[in-house]
């Protein structure tokens, strides 16, 4: 087990470098560049810019310089935001995304697990139908619709909550709820499906046959197997939540990393794109590793060779 974790941890580094390389290639294939604006630049000015940023050198030299810097964990300066280093930008904007992402996931987990488990146990009951209908509503309403509707009601009609920006806890309520809705719905449905599946399996029948009381069967055996799909969903979901969800950041004008990243792609801000991609890829891979490890704990049928 320990060897497995160590091996996976070590492999993250070359993988992140591979991700960076592929991304770099994609940026170079994509048309447009960071300095283009509405007006066409005189050739002399364009040349000045290319010289300044080393774009006049052959591609392998540029690639080499970039990789060399990245290995030293120096992503350089953003091309769009003058004088701001990529590391500084990530350090500054990640906490915003992480805060709302984490809060949203906790909220989603609480609601989703509770609703899913109860719905599975009381299959076809009013609660089952009600919560699953609510979950479906959650899945059917896009967050770019939900967010503005909440704003309309709570900020522009009742004037209770601030409609956007970052501030105290009051500012967090609507973004977190907007973000959590769809995840809570996912989790509720996955939990219910997983639980139903497990409750019909042989080992649960065995447990029941052994005469264990229903509560123990459910919580000790059922839940462990039943939430496997939830766990495998959690890894990527949490990673993307921590990285920020662009729509919510846009609607509520939150200075998170997700919006920063979209802007970087649209601006062709190469160092910033690469920096965020490297950071997120490491984050995602660590979460995925955690998911794989937790499989072993949750489901005794899974073994790691």
């Amino acid at each position: 087990m320990l060897k497995f974790i160590l091996k996976r941890l070590l492999i993250i580094i070359p993988m992140a470098l591979l991700v960076v390389t592929v991304t770099w290639g994609l940026i170079r294939i994509a048309p447009g560049n960071f300095y283009s604006t509405e007006r066409k630049l005189p050739p002399a000015i364009e040349e000045n810019i290319r010289k300044k940023y080393g774009l006049d050198k052959p591609w392998y030299v540029q690639y080499g310089t970039m990789m060399g810097n990245i290995i030293r964990l120096d992503f350089g300066d953003s091309l769009k935001y003058q004088g701001q280093s990529v590391n500084e930008i990530i350090r500054r904007h990640f906490p915003y995304s992480a805060t709302i992402g984490l809060l949203a996931y906790i909220l989603a987990l609480i609601i989703g697990l509770f609703a899913g488990i109860v719905a599975a146990l009381k299959q076809n009951s009013a609660f089952d139908y009600g919560s699953m209908a609510a979950a479906m509503l959650g899945l059917s309403v896009p967050n770019f619709v939900l967010g503005p509707i909440l704003v309309l009601f709570f900020s522009l009609y009742l004037y209770w909550l601030p409609p956007a920006r970052w501030g105290g806890p009051l500012y967090l309520i609507m973004p977190v709820v907007t973000l959590a809705a769809i995840y809570a719905a996912y989790i509720a449905r996955l939990t219910r499906a997983g639980m139903l599946e497990v409750m019909r399996s042989d080992y649960i029948r065995t447990a029941r046959a052994k005469g264990l009381d229903e509560k123990t069967v459910l919580l000790k055996h059922g839940l462990r197997g039943g939430i496997v799909p939830v766990v495998s969903f959690t890894g990527p979901a949490l990673a993307s939540l921590l990285a920020g969800t662009v729509v919510v950041e846009k609607v509520f004008a939150i200075p998170g990393l997700g919006n920063m990243f979209i802007q970087a792609v649209l601006n062709r801000d190469e160092p910033l794109i690469l920096g965020i991609v490297a950071f997120l890829s490491i984050l995602i891979m660590i979460f995925n590793l955690a998911v794989d490890i937790s499989y072993g704990f949750l489901d005794p049928r899974i073994r790691y060779e």
Binding site: I11, M15, A16, L18, V19, V22, T23, L26, I27, I29, A30, P31, Q123, N124, M132, M136, L137, L139, S140, V141, P142, F144, V145, P148, I149, L152, L156, Y186, R189, L190, A193, E197, R200, S201, G225, V228, P229, S232, F233, G235, P236, V246, V247, F261, I262, V265, L266, I273, V277, L280, S281, I284, M285, N288, Y295, D299, R301, I302, R303, E305
Partner: protein, 328 residues
């Protein structure tokens, strides 16, 4: 509870028949007993008929097309619902019903084609990785991790710009030709595939997780010992057993690709105007919610109703196809 009793009853009746009804026929029967699923199916059939035939009927009866902007400048504005325009008009004075119907075509196709692409790629990939285990599994899953970490927006931008315009692959061009063709539609079809190609990753992970937990079960060992070939074990024994979560996840993929498409349209790399999708209509409508609420309500409700029905149908399918239930 009713359903469970019924399925058990079915099982009991079917038991004596040796060959019996086929797996699919059986599932179909079960599905029809699930009223919610039937409701979902009915709505979906109606929806497909409406978006498929609706635009033709509208054009034939009233001459209204989704991209018709009135020549009279005074009519170019958003009118509330009326007899002539049951869903009102958008800011350009275009009939919203016609646009919702046409948008439905695009949205349903996004959902179906992209999910199909992601299903085919994701299920086979995840099943192979999960079953093979060891080094192959490791390499395959690391590849998924790598692709996962590359921002899909970048992939979509590159795919659309490299294969867009004149470089459109001929088979995509041929597909869009069926629906009328043209540069705008080609781009939309390209988008379907691009979306499919970036959304199979989670599916692969879900399937792999299922296969991992199933492959040590007795029925697999039994199949192995009777000399069933590896592909047959994967695709005839393991995959059907993992179908429950796969179908649930696929029904989740449909709305998520629809939303991704809406988001991309919002960023300007999605559906080409004057075409629209429900997502893009809703994201346009949300901006005007305080003034022209019908611009959000109609496309929004239509989209929500469709996703609702899809989810009911998905649940029904899961119950109907679940091989575990059949064992009883």
């Amino acid at each position: 509870m009713k359903e469970d009793i019924n399925t058990q009853g079915d099982g009991a009746q079917d038991a004596p028949v040796v060959k019996g009804t086929s797996l699919w026929k059986d599932a179909w029967k079960r599905l029809l007993k699930n009223k919610l699923a039937v409701f979902g199916l009915a709505v979906m059939i109606l929806m497909v008929l409406a978006v498929g035939l609706g635009p033709f009927i509208m054009e034939w009866t009233s001459g209204i097309t989704p991209d018709y902007i009135p020549a009279n400048g005074d009519l170019i504005r958003s009118f509330p619902p009326s007899l002539q325009h049951p869903m009102g008009t958008d800011e350009a004075g275009r009939d919203l019903l016609a646009r919702v119907l046409q948008g439905g075509r695009i949205s349903l196709m996004v959902g179906i084609i992209s999910t199909a692409v992601s299903l085919i790629v994701g299920v086979s990939y995840g099943a192979i990785a999960g079953y093979a285990g060891g080094r192959l599994d490791n390499v395959m899953m690391r590849l998924v991790d790598i692709i996962y970490a590359i921002p899909y927006i970048l992939i979509v931008i590159v795919l659309l710009s490299v294969f867009g315009g004149e470089n459109i692959p001929s088979w995509i061009g041929a597909m869009s030709e069926v629906f009328g063709g043209g540069a705008g539609l080609n781009q939309i079809f390209l988008l379907f595939f691009a979306l499919g190609l970036v959304s199979w990753l989670t599916m692969a992970r879900v399937v792999r997780g299922q296969i991992l937990s199933l492959k040590n079960e007795e029925f697999v060992l039994a199949a192995k010992s009777t000399g069933v070939s590896t592909p047959a074990i994967i695709f005839r024994h393991l995959v059907p057993n993992a179908l429950g979560p796969v179908i649930v996840y696929a029904t989740l993929t449909v709305p998520s690709v629809m939303l991704t498409e809406a988001f991309l349209s919002f960023l300007g790399i999605g559906v080409q105007a004057p075409y629209a999708s429900w997502g893009s209509l809703a994201s346009d409508g949300i901006k005007n919610i305080a003034i022209f609420p019908w611009q959000l309500i109609f496309p929004g409700v239509t989209m929500a109703l469709t996703l609702f029905s899809l989810n009911f149908l998905g649940d029904g399918l899961r119950d109907a196809l679940d091989p575990q239930t059949r064992k009883f």
